[in-house]
């Protein structure tokens, strides 16, 4: 089901994200990447990043741009992984318009976040693991977290940007009615596909709360902050989305 939904939405994914969050998802992604400070000012140091469920390359591109602009780092590499080849094709198309096309800085892989595969993604390889608006579509979230823990180096950072539970009750009810009426309607109008967008909205609702998810991250072996906003997670826009982080210590 997940593959079909994303095959259907692939080409219009970013347009729909813009419509759904009124462009705000761009701000969230900017903040997500700024938090990570990818890149190193040390010339020659290679920071290895893996962006899972990276699809259209939003996060990967921001990571590369941040490293280049803020740290003058042209050695950072990003492995972009997605289960869906069509989403990857969209990503490759976008990257062809950038300076990273044809460089070793970005590589595209078809892969399953729950089982990346030891051969292509060995243990203790990456400095940064990112997954943005992808983990809620995985059926086995603990498996994704275990794989993330496996492929990260000690000291490596896990970061997840995902829709989450709105903590303010008044905002929560407004957001719920917006999600269940406006978003599938926009799906129908703009992409001719109500069912896929209905699925997306329901997947947001099913996703664990901020605290539960941070506990799952901690159970996978990551060191997380205090179980509060500003600690193990950071709420964005009242909890409409949240950034969860963790560090692999050993």
């Amino acid at each position: 089901m997940v593959k079909e939904v994303f095959s259907s939405v692939a080409s219009k994914y970013d347009v729909m994200n813009d419509a759904m969050s009124m462009g705000v998802h761009r701000l969230w992604k900017d903040e997500f990447v700024s938090l990570l400070k990818p890149g190193s000012t040390r010339v020659g140091k290679v920071t290895r990043c893996i962006d899972v469920a990276g699809g259209t390359g939003d996060i990967a591109l921001r990571i590369l741009d941040y490293a280049r602009e803020k740290k003058a780092d042209r050695d950072l590499v990003v492995d972009l992984v997605d289960i869906n080849p069509e989403m990857l094709k969209e990503g490759q198309k976008r990257f062809r318009k950038t300076m990273y096309h044809g460089t070793p800085q970005v590589a595209f892989h078809v892969g399953n976040a729950q089982e990346l595969g030891q051969e292509r993604f060995p243990d203790n390889t990456y400095d940064i693991y990112t997954i943005a608006f992808g983990i809620r579509n995985c059926t086995d979230i603990p498996a994704v977290l275990r794989e993330a823990h496996r492929v990260l180096k000690p000291g490596g950072v896990f970061a997840c940007l995902e829709f989450s539970k709105v903590t303010q009750p008044a905002l929560a009810s407004m957001y719920e009615s917006y999600s269940f009426s406006v978003i599938p309607l926009l799906g129908t109008i703009m992409a001719g596909d109500r069912a896929s967008y209905q699925y997306l909205v329901e997947s947001i609702r099913r996703f664990p709360s901020q605290e539960d998810f941070s506990r799952m991250i901690s159970d996978a072996g990551f060191e997380v902050g205090e179980p509060e906003d500003g600690g193990a997670w950071r709420n964005l826009w009242g909890g409409i989305s949240a950034i969860h982080t963790g560090v692999k210590v050993a």
Binding site: P154, V157, G246
Partner: protein, 181 residues
């Protein structure tokens, strides 16, 4: 971590908080260790509030010159509002007072639970401030304050007892005169 490389900023930010938060986390951890260090060296030994507070002041000795900056940092707010981190300023002596009372098995109840801790917190805060300017006389200063507090609380309870006695005497007089049933 392998090969002795320094941890990147992003890792430290996530573990300890971004920017100044990391330093605040360290200071808070040190303060928490100070609370633990107040305990008796011998499990069976009985402590008094005075002993516990003395131990806590001793904990400050190795880093006295750094303390003013540490407390100033804790008082710096994380956001725009409020303009001062009042919670952090008030929390430290309150925690010390609570721990001292627990160690000395001071089991007051009702409002005296609060008044006792408030008094000890204020005494400790004053003693610590004194320690920053005059470390040699800090313990004597603390003892003086604790004595004054004991005298004051004895005086207060004496006043209460005496007041009670006077009040009941007047009631008895009023009843004997037939003014009250």
């Amino acid at each position: 971590m392998s090969n002795g490389d320094q941890l990147p900023d992003r890792t430290l930010d996530i573990l300890f908080g971004p920017g100044e938060e990391a330093r605040k986390t360290l200071i808070r951890a040190w303060l928490d260790e100070g609370i633990n260090a107040m305990g008796p060296s011998n499990e069976t030994a009985q402590m008094t509030v005075r002993d516990a507070l003395h131990k806590r002041l001793e904990w400050n000795n190795p880093v006295l010159d750094k303390l003013p900056e540490a407390y100033a940092l804790l008082a710096t707010p994380s956001g725009i509002l409020p303009p001062l981190g009042v919670k952090n300023i008030v929390e430290h002596p309150a925690k010390v007072a609570h721990r001292a009372c627990r160690l000395a098995n001071q089991n007051a109840s009702g409002t005296s639970w609060y008044t006792q801790r408030a008094a000890i917190a204020a005494i400790y805060a004053a003693a610590e401030l004194h320690q920053l300017t005059s470390p040699a006389t800090a313990t004597r200063f603390l003892d003086g304050l604790l004595e004054a507090n004991d005298r004051a609380s004895n005086a207060a309870s004496d006043v209460l007892t005496f007041g009670n006695y006077i009040g009941r005497s007047w009631l008895a007089i009023a009843r004997s005169k037939g003014l009250l049933p």
